[in-house]
């Protein structure tokens, strides 16, 4: 099967600033790609080039086999796009706005109505479709943008921060919607909410200063945390020293961190050497010591830790 989205060596300069530096990405049908990176890393610029709003300085974009440069109109038909900030025409109502989009997409009047119905239903816009968009809350505006993007049920969906400004219930709803349509769509979501990557993405691409620094599953990204597979042991202060030395004695443990003292309970974090699995070793050691342990948990790794490691290290050296 061919890839729905092919970005080939995209490069974009803004003056002397290289916003996107030779990014190559292929996204298949059924994939939900979480595009993450610090602000200004080039996420939006990449999406703007993928959707044909900006023309790359070099490189090419192909959507379902259609070149964005040679066959712009055809390529754009395959895309549903929610631009950053979900812009819309404030003086229109969601209904007239969606009808305009439907007209442009070339649907006849009866199909227009059924498509608007479906999109309004999916984006849960029911109560507000005859209110002017400029009077709507941020969450509703975002959903109007989403409804517009999915109206023609495109094979390629590109969403720039789709859940920004939504409350937790609305976020949950948008994520379920994305999952619902993901099976026959290639979806790219940019976000800086890392929990979103874990919640909906099958693949994650981390970019920093215009370059891809990680491309893999969210699990693989998590595994890059040096505390991946670490065991977190909470014990009473009285036994802390004893347990700590027991853990440190284990060959599979690289280091033990003593973190917080709360109400007489200490949190010890045993960091695995080579981030391997050490649960069995730790459990055995603790059980053998016959000391009371409050809680033992496995730390799967934290995306925000990895995010910081991968994106700030070179910024620091750059600024130094």
């Amino acid at each position: 099967m061919t890839d729905h989205i092919v970005l080939n060596q995209l490069t974009k300069m803004f003056g002397h600033l290289c916003a996107v530096d030779c990014i190559t990405l292929r996204v298949k049908r059924g994939e939900v790609l979480g595009f993450i990176g610090p602000n200004g890393a080039g996420k939006s610029t990449t999406m703007k080039m993928a959707t044909g709003f900006l023309i790359p300085d070099s490189g090419s974009v192909e959507i379902c086999g259609a070149s964005m440069i040679k066959d712009e109109k055809k390529a754009k038909r395959f895309i549903g796009y929610l631009p950053e900030g979900a812009p819309a025409y404030g003086d229109m109502t969601p209904f007239t706005f969606l009808r305009f989009i439907s007209d442009i997409r070339g649907y006849g009047s009866s199909e227009t109505l059924s498509r608007i119905d479906k999109a309004v239903d999916r984006a849960e816009l029911g109560g507000v479709i005859h209110q002017r968009i400029e009077t709507l809350s941020k969450g509703f505006k975002r959903r109007v943008g989403l409804a517009q993007a999915i109206l023609h049920e495109p094979p390629v969906l590109i969403l720039d921060e789709p859940t920004d400004g939504l409350d937790p219930n609305q976020k949950f709803h948008v994520r379920s919607l994305i999952k619902e349509i993901s099976s026959d769509t290639a979806i790219v979501i940019s976000t800086h909410i890392l929990e979103e990557v874990e919640a909906v993405c099958s693949r994650t691409v981390l970019i920093d200063r215009g370059q891809v620094v990680f491309d893999g599953t969210p699990g693989e990204l998590q595994a890059l945390d040096r505390k991946h597979n670490a065991m977190v042991v909470r014990v009473h202060t009285n036994h802390a020293a004893e347990i700590k030395s027991l853990l440190e004695a284990l060959g599979s443990v690289k280091q033990v961190e003593e973190n917080t003292h709360v109400n007489g309970v200490v949190t010890l974090t045993a960091i695995a050497s080579n981030t391997g699995a050490i649960a069995a070793d730790v459990a055995e050691a603790v059980a053998g010591a016959d000391l009371r342990v409050e809680e033992i948990t496995i730390n799967p790794g934290r995306l925000d830790e990895v995010f910081r490691d991968l994106t700030t290290s070179d910024t620091r050296s750059d600024n130094a």
């Binding site: 895309i79 796009y81 900030g85 812009p87 025409y89 404030g90 229109m92």
Partner: protein, 244 residues
């Protein structure tokens, strides 16, 4: 063609969704009439024609038309909706022409609203209605040529005030270039053919022909050419911004 009409329809709806359209039409009708009565001496002349009405159109349009054109692209840039519009499966040319046509239709409506003037002269006497029709047509063409300038300038900025001021200035130059006084200022230090070129670009001279009832192909062609040139510039500006 289909996309042009869809965009024009949305854009025209945009004018009427806010008080803008109504205020514009009311002010246009009020000012054109006021100029005809007070500056043009509509009654004092004792002639049943609309010359005092049409004489002041270039000077009014130079101010009013840029206020209609300024929002066309600047507002889209400001709100970010341009990103939505330009990632839809339409060409830049379709968007540019669609928006222009919407604004030009607004001008047609505004001119139509002044029809009571026409009815009045027909009631008072028997004017040459052919001349009046030609003048209306000329005024509409003139407004189109101003609009095309305003639209192109609106595409360069996201600030509507800047778009308005710049467009007014450029439109003003295109009107002034036909005045004797202005041409004389250049006369002493510019070669003759440049002077001829400047005056031949004048919106005023071409409009005067039509306002007098002289429906010349040359004047009509002039305005359509001007519209085409500025709309082309508009397309180039929009496309240019995609690469920067």
């Amino acid at each position: 063609m289909r996309n042009i009409l869809i965009i024009a329809k949305r854009e025209l709806g945009g004018y009427f969704a806010t008080p803008l359209a109504y205020i514009f039409i009311a002010i246009f009708a009020a000012l054109t009439s006021a100029f005809a009565f007070y500056l043009g001496g509509f009654f004092e002349r004792g002639q049943a024609d609309l010359k005092p009405f049409f004489d002041h159109h270039p000077w009014l349009l130079v101010l009013l038309v840029p206020s209609l054109a300024m929002r066309l692209w600047a507002e889209e840039r400001k709100s970010g909706s341009i990103e939505l519009l330009m990632t839809l499966p339409i060409t830049t040319t379709e968007a540019v022409i669609g928006k222009f046509l919407a604004a030009w239709m607004m001008m047609a409506i505004a001119l139509a609203v002044t029809a009571p003037m026409w009815i009045t002269v027909n009631y008072l006497g028997s004017p040459d209605n052919g001349v009046i029709l030609a003048a209306y047509f000329g005024s509409w063409l003139l407004s189109g040529a101003f609009l095309a300038i305003g639209a192109a300038i609106s595409a360069t900025t996201k600030n509507q005030v800047i778009a308005f001021v710049l467009a007014t200035a450029v439109c003003f130059v295109f009107v002034m270039s036909g005045l004797e006084a202005v041409l004389q200022a250049f006369d002493s230090w510019l070669p003759k053919f440049v002077i001829v070129a400047i005056s031949s670009m004048s919106y005023l001279n071409h409009y005067d022909q039509l306002a007098k009832g002289v429906v010349e192909a040359r004047a009509i062609m002039f305005f359509f050419t001007m519209i085409a040139i500025w709309l082309f510039a508009n397309v180039v500006i929009i496309d240019q911004k995609k690469t920067t």
